[in-house]
Symmetry: D2
Subunit: 281 residues, 4 copies
């Protein structure tokens, strides 16, 4: 993502990461390195953050050494992390109180999409802030979707991935049932793909090895979106469900099933490997 930003803004990107190697790699491509998150906040007008979890975003932005306290008035924060959307909403409100602007813009499309610059950004925030963010987002991704006010970028990502996990497992189960009962998996997939079971998991990312070329299931479930990452997103979705008492019976089961995949060594495999988990010999 940073590499694509650099291509679009040569000489105009400042970077910070706890991994010195990542920083060096970008400096070689023309980025300058900040000495701390606060330093970075002082030097830039548009600040993009992407870290693993809610507490990391909070730690990065809040406090006297945080980016909020050290940013120029009117700066725009774009948080691309996938975190608790209720926390995102609170952070956006805090930014506003401090004279800053902020949108949440979690991303989908995976490592491949990041390299190719074809990511999708799901954006929560005001239309004005989104407009200011478009040049930066457009350098890194292809689809920029405005989901509503602050926090709704994350809500959309979690809701999408919840439905995705469930439909992937559902596709894997249907393919398991069909092939165990003697069907050719390609024929079964082709019928499902023109019928009511049609879904992205079946028609664009089929979990059965050999049904489609160029998807993780056809290269031993390598690449793609790991089961451990799906487990993490489902944890966030289940967490978010508590505060609003959303009842998610299949979501809860899908979350546990991906937990079992992780426990049994499938955490690093693509999340379509649930088919292999169900059919393990």
């Amino acid at each position: 993502m940073a590499a694509n930003l650099l291509k679009a803004n040569p000489g105009n990107v400042v970077v910070y990461d706890i991994s010195k190697d990542s920083v060096s790699a970008l400096v070689e491509k023309g980025a300058s390195a900040a000495s701390s998150p606060a330093d970075l906040a002082r030097r830039c007008d548009v600040l993009i953050t992407m870290v693993p979890a809610t507490q990391h975003v909070s730690g990065l932005l809040r406090g006297p050494d945080g980016m909020f306290a050290n940013a120029k008035k009117g700066s725009l924060f774009i948080d691309c992390s996938t975190i608790d959307p209720i926390a995102s909403k609170e952070l956006c409100a805090e930014a506003k109180k401090m004279g800053l602007n902020m949108i949440d813009a979690p991303v989908s499309g995976g490592v491949t999409g990041a390299a190719a610059g074809t990511l999708t950004f799901m954006v929560g925030g005001t239309a004005e802030d989104l407009d200011s963010a478009r040049p930066a987002l457009g350098a890194m991704g292809k689809n920029i979707v405005h989901c509503g006010p602050a926090g709704t970028g994350g809500v959309t990502k979690l809701a999408n991935n919840l439905a995705l996990a469930i439909s992937m497992i559902g596709t894997a189960e249907a393919m398991t049932l069909g092939t165990k009962l003697g069907m050719d998996p390609k024929v079964l997939a082709s019928v499902m793909n023109t019928s009511t079971a049609r879904c992205w998991s079946s028609d664009s990312y089929n979990p059965v090895p050999g049904v489609m070329p160029n998807v993780p299931s056809s290269r031993d479930y390598s690449g793609g979106f790991g089961s451990a990452l799906m487990e993490k997103d489902l944890t966030l979705a289940m967490d978010a469900s508590k505060s609003v008492k959303a009842r998610l019976p299949l979501g809860a089961s899908a979350h546990q099933l991906y937990g079992l995949l992780c426990q049994h060594g499938f955490g690093g495999k693509d999340f379509s490997s649930v088919y292999e988990f169900l059919n393990k010999k």
Copy 2:
């Protein structure tokens, strides 16, 4: 279905049903009535059966008064019932031994599709038998899909509906989570429909009232495919899974959830009413 057959074959359709009213209605349109299933078998070359459950098909076809024993050699049986696909396979084998031909051709598309003649037939059997069946099937439906040998029509239908039930519940849960967290359901659906959560349940049959016109959710879940029928198909899918030891964790939970819908008065509502069940006030 019979009415469409009659349109295509005026004066050439014989009917039998335990409901005298159904028979009279068709006789008025030009059908002749058979006095029994055996009588019907003696009078026709192509025999279409459609009854609620495995034991009914078995009772209709087997035994000295059954249709098999009374059919002309070389007759073609087309069973459109949704039943245990292992039983279908056995019945096709018995038919063959008695000098008869048989395909299983369960149907999807609902009452609306049946009236409009736009049903989909999922056919298991030999290519030759399917070719002989095409004129009859073509009079009643639009899509005729050859799924493989005997029994695979039913396997395909059950696998499809298993994935469908799961993706419908998954869509309903994602929409529940998103709307409870403050999203506009139309916006959430539109993002999901162009992302990885895209599926028929979301983009063609959205379960949230008001998101799409002309679907059951926008007319208080009336019409469509009832939860009780979905529960029945899931029972068949779970049954079929046992003999081949297919592991269907979400399928089993979806089956129980539709069972609870039936228990709580949602059996006659469209199966997308799982959204209402999860959000009941």
Copy 3:
């Protein structure tokens, strides 16, 4: 079981099995061998059957070469198999019509209980037939429970094992949660055993290695009641639930979970190994 029968009735036991070794072993201990099930039926007044599945019982008892057709009028059949209780009820009714008596008497207590003669028999049938069966049952087991009319022996066994599977998994999950959060498993078990989580799975058969001596969990889950057998009983329970529309959401999930254990190599381990499955490293 047959060895204990022989001890109680020396010189008065006739045996039949498809395994010649099993027959020889008993003949050495003083049993006579029957040449077929029909031969056995002709020679005995009390006939005990114990086979793996519903279709085996049906095959053994029905038909011209079956035990029913060849038994002396007034004989007493005791079926100790764990099978579909609705089928048991039908078989008992058929026996009565043929002038025979029959009870269903499935057994619990495992291989250890069988060897020690301490099995529990759960009996469905008339009080008179149960009284006639007492000498035979008393030779093989310690507890003989009258559950109600024909079929209820099997119903009781399936209901008991359904609750057992669920409470074993529940105990394993509670112990997993507690120990992962830093508790000593012995302390946690001792509190649970005097509180509302008290159950046989926790206080008599604890699934965590080292909490109790002399249970399968403390000998690498060997001996005991295999996960594959529990999966079989849960299959029967889920089957029986269909006809009466009993809603069993946790039962369905427990069934699938034991299916996954079998799929992942735990089928031959004791069913308390669900703890190991959840905590696998």
Copy 4:
């Protein structure tokens, strides 16, 4: 609980509550009223807290107006709330740093046990602190169980209630299956209670109306421990499972099922009403 404390320590109890009526009722019985939590902290050596949720305990104890900052050095805090056990552990550590002592002592036994002084306290903390707490705890409860270091009182309560919820649902499902298949529920319960399905939910709190007198199921599920409270404890258990990656497949399903009970109007009924939910007509 406060009333029993007063009986044991007449003239020596100071109380605070946001409900003035609750305070007045205790003042009439001889308690003095504190003007704030900080006031209470300044006046007492042993401080008992019991509030609904983690954030309330945190709010009460932390900050310049909190009880920690205003307590005498060496005071003993006893928190009887059921909250996140990881938060309990952190609070105990903070107390220690401030020269205070603290144990977590969540309680089971319900409203009835509180009135009768027969509660069970599950205590996490040092043996010395527990010894100092015994007079106060002994005035309110009958069983005082030392579960281990700080936080383990809460861990034990959550693990116990997780297993309890699951075994209650399992018992309800087994009774549903058995009675729908024609068993007398009293007979079925009596066999289960002497067999491997034996558990507190079955032998001391049976969920089927009429099986036992004096339990909630026999008074239309009134009194007892509400489904909404069970749902709350399961939420805490599922939360606690995340940080340590405990896999709780049935726990997750039990949590969702109690969520559905709350959604469908069973929140105020005893948690054994899951039997009624499964059998609703």
